[in-house]
Structures are given as C-alpha cells and as structure tokens.
C-alpha cells in the first residue's frame, strides 16, 4: 500500500481519547500553518499541518484524527479515525508514525485505547499529556516504567503550558530522518486461552487475504471476533468464507462459556489497571479537585439550570446585540465598495451585475460573519472548558422526552445562529438515526437570517407597543423550538425508529480555555462556513439578478425617461435637449443639503420604474405564476416574489420587498431601510381599499418563515452530510408543506377570531 517515494512527506497521525488535550498539542506542533478541510463525502474535520521543527528537505505532516474512545467506532468521527489507522481511507496514505496522546490524569481509560493503537504495529510514540494536572491530583507518573510496560517511547508533557512539547517534536523529527525501523509486535489484552486461539486462527486468514497490511492482522482479528459491528459494517470487504469462520468461532466460544463480546475488553482493562498501578506513585492529592468543586455549583439542582439559562442569555445578547456593531461596519464597507465599483466603471449591465449581484451578494453573507464568529467563539470556549458536556448532562432529560440524546442539544443550540454549523455539529452523534433526526429538525430553530424578516413584518403588521412586538418575536422563536422538538418526536416514532444506544457521556475535568485554541477554532470554522456559504449565495444572487433584470422592456425605460424630462422642463423651461436634462439631473444630485421637490419627484420616478421593470421581469412573472399557491394564505404576487426569492436565503425577502415596493435598496439589517419598507407596507392597499398587511397576514407570513426550508446553503450542507439527495429533498418537502399548512391554519384561526 505504501508507495513511499523520496518526495512524499513523512506522515505522522495524532490520535487519542476525546478531552486528552490532543488539539492543544496539535496546535503546538504545527503552529498557525495547519489546514482545515473535510474528508471526501463527509464533513468530519480534516486537520493537518507541517511539523514546525521539520526541515524543507525532510517534511513531516501531522494529521489530527478525531477524538476516539476505541477502535470499535460508535460515531462518524470515530469511524474516520479507525479507517485511517486501518488504511481503509484511499485518500490518506498509510501512517509512517502514530502519536498517541494520553491524558495522564485519566490514565486507565486512556491506556485502553493507547494499547489498542500500539497493537496495530506502527512505529508509535506516546505523548503523556497533563502530567501537571495528574501531579496536582496527587499522582506522580513514572514515564520510564510506562515506556517499558508499553514498549514504545513515552514523552511526559503539558501541552497547554508547552512543557515537554519541544522534546517531543524533536523526537518526531529525528525519527522521520532515521526512516523506517522494525516494530516488535505487542499484545496487551490478557485473553482467555480459547479466545486467544480463535483470534490467532482468524489472524492467519487475514494475513493471507490482505498481505499488504499484515502487521494489522492481529489487531483486526481481535476486533472482528469481539465487535458485533466490525463484520456487519463491511460485508463486501470480508469474503463470505471469513465471515463464516468468525461466526463459527463465536459459536464455539459461546458453547464453552466465554463471552466473546467482553473477553478482550476485560482482558485489556485488566492489563491497563495493572500498568497504571505499576507506574503511578500516590503523593496525596486534595480531597476534592477544583473541577469537582465547580461541578457542585454548575450541576447543582438549583444553580445548575440558572447558570445554564444565564449562559444562553449571554449568548443571545451577544449574537443579537454586540454583533450589531461590527455588522454595521461591514455594511458600511460593503456599501462603500458598491459605490466605488459603480463609480469606477461606465453604467450598464455589467456595472449593475457587479454592484447589485456580486458585491451585494457577497456582502449579504459577510454581514453575518460577526454573528457566526461570536457563536463559534462561545461554543469553542464552552467546549474547550468542558462546559458543553455539562449542558448535555443538564438537558438530556428534556431531549430524551422526544427520543434524542443530550448530545443533540448542542447542534440545535448552534442553529439559532445558523443551521449550517448546527448541522455540522451533529457529527459527534453516535447513531445514524439520531443524527438524521437532528439534521432534519435543526433548521426549524429560528436562525439569524429570519430575524430581519420578523423585524420588518412585526413593524409593518403588528400594532401595539414594544411589549406586544417583543412578545410576538419571542413567540416566533418559541414556535420554532416547539416545532423542532415535536417533529423530532414524530420522526423518532415513525420514520427513524430505533432505540437510542445508551448515553455514555464523559464529564471531563474543567480546563481554563486557551485563547489560542479558541480563536483558532473560531477562525477555522468561520472560514469554512464563509467559503461554503459564500460560493452558494454568490451564485444565487447572480441568478436572481438575471431573473429580476431580464427580459428588458425598453418601452418602460423610455416612458419613464420622457416623464422625467417633462418634469425637468416644467421646472426649467430652458432645458430642451437630452444633454441639458442630464446636466440638470447631475447638478441636482450634486447639490448640497436636503433634496428639493424636483429631485424627490425624479427619484420617485426612478423607483417606480424599477418596480415596473421588476413586475415585467422573469422574477415578476414567477411571482404571478406562484400566486395561486399562496392565495389561500392571503399572499399576493408581490409577496410571492419575496417568498420565491427567499428560497435562496431567507434574508433576501427584505431586499426583494424593498425592490417590489420601490423603497430603494434597503439593506437587510439596515435600520432605515427596514423601517422605510415597513412604512411603505403599511400603506399598501387591496383593490377594495383595505390594508394588505394586517396583523393576520403578518402572522401568517411569519409562521410560514418559521417552518419553511428557505436556504440553499442548508440544502447543500445536508446533501453533503447525508451523502444523498434523498434527505435534503425530504427535508425541503416536509418543512415547506408544514409551513403552508400551519400558515393556512394561522390565517383561518385569525379570521375566525375576528382578524382581517
């Protein structure tokens, strides 16, 4: 398998349990040069970087595998790690060196995985991390006897303080320079005799079948024999004869009273406990660690939930309020850039496409960057400190009511900012069913793109004071939460039935989050989001621009041009040539102070022209085409355009309606544009003279937006995550149908209660 050439970079893979400080060590080893991407077909984060101390002619690449408890995977994350170590992922070369990170303050369970990995037969180094924490807890670890017991080099360190990292990095570099060396095969599991015999039998078969990975055969045989899923997950990979052999071996073991499921696990833990006993000297630690003391408050019967709600509130306040400040700057920058582009080139279609299609399109994504960054900052800090596990611990009861895990809570929380990172966060969920259910309901949580839509509709339709308006907004968020939980319950009952596997949630000791790690996380994830969403939204905006601009009816432009020129001539009888009219307009636009009556009138004509052209465009025709679908909900063709455009991205509703109602290019988050649009919507009348935007219409529209799947980026991410079109299409269909039905119900209940 390994077609090692002198050009190929030396590959060291970094692996270990979750919460062992692996990411901190990875950052320390690779500095800021690491790249973050995805494995083909799944959005499991692929992080790799060059070893900082490695030289140009002897490059060393470090690949950071997802945190793993064992080589029998329970989640997508763990499966990727296992597949790389077993050389089953074609895109990753066979590792030249394996670096196992062990949390010294949790030695026994970490040794369980470390011994599994050492048995794989790769050259292996052990990074004995968090020795400072172990010492503070009263455990002195003798790294030399640990090295002797494991048969591989052991490097004591504290990745968070940097202690011992340099020596480790140098050793990796020196090993890479020395080239390959023989590895003495090792076995750590103390197996019952008959089990050991059966395992060796299968090992022999595997060596014959897969000679290129012979050194893995012993470990693979052990897994095949004791892991229920190892065979089932790869029925094509293992020949039927081998599968038969494994099943027969299991039957024989069962007959002789050996539990093949637990024998190797028990044997390995027995050895791990013995090693731990031999290498640790108790020096007497505190009765209760700092972490235990924090937990007594944070998971307290009363304080726990209160602190939890407080953290959520802080998260929301920062997303909806603090983020508004940098958001304002970005909007200003985008506006300035659009102005500069539009001034730097002659007016025309290309100019319009660049300013309204490209700059405004990219800008509409970039304005959400502060919110996304803040959300990730919070989530990274909560994850890195160890609080996330406590949040799942506190919320598990609520989630279990709808058939999900506490772990599903985190993706749903993320979805308040944006469903995309929320859906990406589902990859730690163990079962396929639970992961799918979480993906299917995550977009029902009201994301930040719905906020501008709610804001403008509440301003236009809902009377009463700030309290009623605030209550309406809260109601929309609650409706999303109830909808998500309800649908999760329904899916678990019907479509994606299945007993969830037992919740086994580690509550790791609290750590002081390292700013470098958090900021790194934030940047990695935010830029991934930007790249992905940016490309999709950019494309859609260009498409929308074409739909809203063509076909062009020269007649409309000419008619308004004549009207404008007549206005100018009425006011200034001396202007009789096209040049004079153009000069007059330029002079008016360039004048200081408030615009005069004439300029206002001319601008009004510009806006009417834009509206008229939109009505005539493909987008306008589309609006009228879909009108019959939305008429039962009380929506007219203008709202139809807004809704159809919103299927690209929800926030597009605001800018589209601004164009439809000739309110100028009111930006989604721009306060003046929004309230201007709301004022204009209030004055909109039906043919019979009644108001269009009544409270009932407003509520109906908002309910539609709560439930409808209107986000191309989310559809694209769900497609990637589930690796098929089946689920995103199903999600789109169920959400849109649900939105229509509930909007319909809202309208008729509203009318029955006396609304209009």
């Amino acid at each position: 398998m390994s077609t090692a050439t002198s050009q190929r970079s030396f590959l060291a893979v970094l692996t270990g349990n979750p919460n062992c400080g692996k990411t901190t060590l990875f950052n320390a080893l690779t500095g800021l040069r690491a790249r973050v991407g995805n494995y083909a077909g799944v959005t499991v984060e692929r992080k790799e970087g060059a070893l900082l101390v490695s030289s140009r002619d002897q490059p060393v690449t470090i690949l950071d595998l997802p945190g793993t408890y064992s080589l029998s995977p329970q989640s997508l994350d763990e499966q990727i790690a296992r597949d790389i170590l077993f050389q089953r992922l074609p895109e990753v070369a066979a590792p030249d060196l394996v670096l196992v990170v062990i949390d010294g303050s949790n030695l026994q369970r970490n040794l369980y995985y470390a011994t599994q990995v050492i048995e794989l037969g790769y050259p292996t180094f052990v990074a004995l991390n968090m020795v400072d924490v172990a010492r503070a807890n009263g455990h002195e670890i003798d790294d030399r006897s640990l090295s002797a017991a494991l048969g591989v080099p052991v490097f004591p360190m504290s990745a968070s303080t940097g202690e011992g990292v340099k020596a480790f990095a140098d050793a990796v570099k020196a090993h890479a320079a020395r080239g390959t060396q023989r590895v003495i095969p090792r076995e750590f599991s103390e197996l019952p005799e008959d089990f050991g015999r059966e395992a060796r039998e299968i090992q022999g078969e595997l060596s014959k079948l897969f000679p290129h990975r012979e050194r893995l055969a012993a470990a693979e045989a052990l897994l095949l024999l004791s892991d229920d899923q190892a065979l089932q997950a790869h029925p094509d990979h293992y020949p039927a004869a081998l599968q038969e052999k494994v099943r027969n071996a299991r039957t024989r073991l069962e007959k002789s009273g050996t539990d093949w499921r637990s024998a190797s696990i028990e044997g390995r833990y027995a050895r791990a406990a013995a090693i731990e006993m031999a290498v640790i000297t108790e020096t007497g630690g505190p009765e209760e660690t700092v972490s235990d003391r924090i937990d007594r408050v944070v998971t307290h019967q009363v304080w726990g939930p209160l602190i939890f709600v407080g953290i959520l509130l802080a998260l929301f306040v920062s997303i909806f309020w603090v983020a508004e400040i940098p958001k304002g700057w970005i909007e200003w920058l985008v506006g300035a850039l659009a102005g500069w582009v539009s001034g730097a080139m002659p007016p025309g279609d290309l100019n319009d496409l660049l300013t309204n299609g490209v700059v405004a399109g990219v800008g509409s994504v970039v304005v959400f960057l502060p919110q996304i960054c803040l959300l990730f900052l919070f989530i990274s800090a909560l994850e890195d400190s160890g609080y996330m596990a406590r949040a799942a611990f506190l919320m598990d009861r609520v989630m279990s009511r709808v058939g999900l895990h506490g772990k599903s809570f985190i993706p749903m929380l993320s979805s308040f900012a944006c469903a995309i990172p929320g859906i990406m966060a589902t990859r730690t969920i163990e079962t396929v069913q639970d992961r799918l259910v979480t993906i299917l309901v995550a977009p029902l949580m009201s994301c930040s793109a719905r906020l501008p839509v709610y804001t403008v509709l509440i301003a236009a339709c809902i009377g009463g004071g700030a309290f009623v308006k605030g209550l309406t907004l809260t109601g929309m968020y609650l409706l999303g939460i109830v909808g998500a939980l309800g649908m999760a319950w329904l899916f678990k009952k019907t479509l994606l039935k299945g007993e969830p596997p037992p919740l086994l949630l580690e509550l790791p000791p609290y750590k002081r989050p390292l700013p470098s790690v958090i900021l790194r996380h934030m940047w990695d994830r935010s830029s991934l989001f930007l790249r992905r969403a940016g490309t999709v939204i950019l494309g859609i905006n260009i498409l929308l621009w074409f739909l809203a601009t063509f076909p062009r009816d020269e007649g409309i432009g000419n008619r308004f041009e004549v009207e404008r020129n007549q206005r100018i001539q009425a006011e200034h009888p001396g202007d009789t040539t096209p040049e004079a009219w153009a000069a007059r307009r330029a002079a008016l636009e360039g004048a200081e102070g408030e615009p005069g009556v004439l300029l206002e009138a001319l601008r009004q004509l510009d806006r009417e022209q834009a509206g008229e052209e939109l009505r005539n465009s493909y987008a306008g025709r589309l609006g009228r085409l879909v009108e019959p679908v939305f008429r039962p909900l009380g929506f007219d063709w203008k709202m139809g355009i807004g809704i159809v455009a919103s299927f690209a991205a929800r926030e597009v509703f605001v800018s589209t309606m601004s164009v439809v109602y000739n309110v100028g290019a009111g930006d989604a988050g721009d306060e003046e544009g929004t309230s201007g649009l709301a004022e204009r919507m209030k004055t909109e009348r039906r043919a019979d003279g009644t108001a269009v935007y009544t409270p009932v219409t407003g509520l109906t529209l908002m309910v539609f937006y709560v439930f409808a799947m209107q986000c191309v980026s989310t559809v694209a991410v769900v497609r990637r995550e589930t690796n098929s079109w089946r689920w995103p299409l199903f999600q789109f269909a169920y959400m849109t149908a649900l939105a229509w039905v509930l909007a319909f119900a809202t309208r008729w209940i509203g009318i029955a209660l006396g609304g209009g």
Partner: protein, 77 residues
C-alpha cells in the same frame, strides 16, 4: 447485601458492579468505557431533572441514563 440497581443508590454511595444486564448490542461501548463487572464505582449526583446519573469509575466521571442504570446491579460497599 444483595446487589441493587445503580439507579436506586443515593449520591455519595460506593460499590462494585455485580452484573450488567444491558442487552449485548448496547453493552459494548459501556464495557469499553470501563464499566465492567467488578469495577468499583461511586455515585456522584443525579442531574437536576432526575436523569441522567453521574458516577465515578477508574478515576474519571461518566454519566448514564436511568434506563441503563436500572440494569447495572451494584453491590454496595
């Protein structure tokens, strides 16, 4: 003393796992996390809503649901 379900113990009580009656398909990860027959454990607390339960085994803290804790029998020390 007869073994009792883990879920019936009070916070602070200690014991040793006597038997695990979780169905085989769901038992594997439990075992791999170090919850085996013969493992000493301490009950730390129950979550504010009564579920899940947090225990301490092999020097670290793990939480599991009552649903499984009912099926883990513990001989109290």
């Amino acid at each position: 003393m007869d073994p009792r379900p883990l879920s019936s113990l009070t916070p602070g009580s200690k014991g040793v796992v006597a038997s695990i009656q979780v169905p085989p398909a769901h038992r594997a990860r439990m075992l791999e996390m170090g919850l085996l027959v013969g493992t000493p454990l301490e009950v730390i607390r129950f979550a504010p809503l009564g579920d899940p339960v947090e225990i301490r085994i092999r020097g670290y803290n793990l939480s599991l649901r009552r649903h499984e804790a009912d099926l883990v029998l513990v001989r109290e020390a």
